[in-house]
């Protein structure tokens, strides 16, 4: 039985039902993927969705048609209905019979094993799919690439007395009333940004209103006529974030790829602004993750390789289709092409801009971080190798992390406890830190930490961390870099 049949949605009048339910049918197919294996759907009727109720308040409540202000929420499970019922009953009874933590642990265990996520179904026949959070596919694709969903984060849903948690990135369909593709892509990106700061996320209505606060270059804001990049930046700024914008059009493919990769692997979901082949339509999608080669096989660029050379594709949320859509990337005449299959046809877009909402304290952009890495630090490392008589390539990557996330990542390395102790005692870290990591066969892996509250002209190096302390030549290089750029040498 399909999701469409279960929900018994009324047909829209002036558009084809298959067009209106494209996203719904995509979700139906996605949750049935062998890796997810949906067996049971639970309907939560009369669900008040924050995003929809805002849309209703500013737009749908003023229509002649009486649109309800509530939705239906659909939960997906990979258990058979009877098994799910007995599991829910068992865990619920633990709340009174066992310690509190046992109950929450059991909720977490059931979520991890069998909860696929939820989709809010709005009472709008022409665009039913509201806020949807679905579990990402496994890291190992078994097709020679790894799926990395760094922009996914935990979302809770409460059902029948239990708390279910799903790790994903929210998605929703454009309604062309309050939001078109630009608003929706921005909404997705800001959902992730809000999670990084544990802040309240903006709704589509908020975004469209903030975007059209000072300029209306294309007429009325609602029904949505689309947004300009200027309006998107305005919305980001007025919601308390800083827009970080890069032009991909006319730039180098390698650089665009590196900036995109850095942004996604740092956990920020960038909005990709793309143009179709004849340049008549511009579209915006949000990136949820990346596909990277299982083995680093890409040829070196000038003997120095950025980790982004292993980028094989992107997982995007396209509001015209669905979440986690696999897109491949390619280069043509320096242009960055994004291709994916949509409605049984191959679509090709040229990436023109990358827009990333960042915390206001991140003053160092991904471009500036890349420049610091390429221009100064990588030259130092590669020159050191050459002067030492080593004909090796340097592999490097650039990311921006919340400092505690970086420390946590360090602690996951065997024997890093002492290193973390040294770092925490000796260095004052900014809220977000720029991390440039270097790998070379004859050197230990080491990180250069940069203060993201500083600017390119007054760039402040916080520390140089030698992650293993076995190699004396790495120690010599780290000491040199720390001395040259003014950071602490931690080993």
């Amino acid at each position: 039985m399909s999701l469409e049949d279960i929900l018994k949605l009324p047909d829209p009048y002036f558009i084809l039902p298959e067009d209106a339910r494209r996203q719904l049918n995509y979700i139906d197919r996605y949750v049935r993927h062998p890796e997810l294996g949906c067996r049971t759907v639970v309907l939560e009727e009369h669900y008040i969705d924050r995003d929809y109720i805002e849309d209703h308040s500013v737009f749908y409540s003023k229509s002649l048609t009486n649109y309800p202000n509530y939705c239906t929420r659909v939960h997906f499970f990979s258990l058979e209905p009877t098994q799910l019922q007995s599991e829910i009953t068992r865990i619920r009874s633990l709340r009174s019979s066992a310690e509190e933590h046992v109950f929450w642990e059991e909720c977490g265990r059931l979520s991890k094993r069998h909860y696929i996520g939820f989709a809010v179904i709005k009472p709008l026949p022409g665009c039913p799919v509201g806020r949807t959070v679905l579990r990402c596919l496994q890291e190992d694709s078994k097709k020679g690439h790894l799926r990395k969903f760094k922009c996914a984060c935990d979302f809770d849903a409460h059902l029948l007395g239990l708390r279910f948690t799903v790790k994903g990135l929210p998605f929703q369909q454009q309604d062309l009333g309050v939001s078109a593709c630009a608003t929706t892509a921005l909404w997705i990106s800001l959902q992730r940004a809000a999670q990084l700061e544990h802040a309240g996320a903006a709704t589509p209505a908020h975004i469209t209103m903030r975007a059209s606060q000072f300029a209306l270059p294309f007429g009325r804001p609602m029904p949505s006529e689309g947004l300009s990049l200027d309006q998107m930046c305005q919305a980001i700024q007025s919601l308390g974030y800083s827009p970080n914008l890069h032009r991909a059009e006319g730039s180098s493919f390698e650089v665009t790829r590196a900036l995109l990769f850095s942004s996604v692997s740092s956990g920020f979901s960038p909005v990709l602004v793309m143009e179709n082949v004849d340049g008549s339509v511009r579209h915006a999608v949000a990136v949820a993750g990346v596909a990277v080669s299982q083995h680093t096989t890409a040829p070196p660029v000038t003997g120095v390789r950025h980790r982004s050379a292993d980028l094989r594709g992107l997982y995007v949320h396209d509001d015209r289709c669905g979440p986690y859509l696999k897109a491949t990337i390619a280069e043509r005449k320096g242009n960055f092409l994004v291709r994916y299959e949509l409605f049984d046809a191959q679509e090709e877009w040229t990436l023109t801009h990358i827009l990333t909402p960042l915390h206001a304290k991140i003053r160092l952009s991904f471009g500036e971080l890349y420049r610091a890495g390429a221009d100064a630090l990588t030259s130092d490392v590669q020159a050191f190798l050459n002067a030492s008589g080593e004909n090796e390539s340097t592999l490097w990557r650039s990311r921006i992390y919340r400092s505690h996330v970086y420390v946590d990542e360090l602690l996951q390395r065997v024997g890093a406890s002492r290193l973390v102790e040294q770092l925490c005692r000796k260095v004052r870290l900014s809220r977000y830190i720029g991390v440039i990591r270097f790998d070379a066969p004859s050197l230990d892996t080491f990180d250069v930490l940069l203060d993201t509250t500083s600017t390119e002209r007054n760039l402040n190096c916080l520390a140089v961390l030698q992650l293993q302390s076995t190699n004396v030549h790495t120690a010599e290089l780290c000491r040199f870099i720390a001395g040259r750029y003014g950071g602490q040498y931690i080993h």
């Binding site: 454009q174 689309g226 200027d230 650089v255 339509v281 500036e368 030259s379 020159a383 008589g389 080593e390």
Partner: protein, 79 residues
């Protein structure tokens, strides 16, 4: 305590494949920044790598130099 012979048998075999790892690397003198010879070699190599990598850094800079045209583009794909 293992005998010297047994210990030797348990020691990892040193790989000496041509073309693998550091085998065709040439160690040149002392590797220390306090050694003026090494420092000179390093600075020379550094200038070479900066020249090679500067175009990438410049491309990253130019991608952030935006004009009014960039901000005016309209994004409104429907579906």
């Amino acid at each position: 305590m293992l005998s010297k012979r047994k210990r030797k048998a348990l020691m990892p075999i040193r790989k000496n494949k041509p073309g693998a790892g550091r085998s065709h690397a040439k160690r040149v003198g002392t590797i220390s920044f306090s050694d003026p010879e090494f420092r000179a070699r390093f600075e020379k190599a550094r200038r070479k790598w900066q020249r090679k990598l500067r175009p990438l850094a410049e491309a990253a800079r130019s991608s952030e130099q935006l004009t009014e045209r960039d901000f005016a583009i309209r994004i409104n794909a429907r579906g």
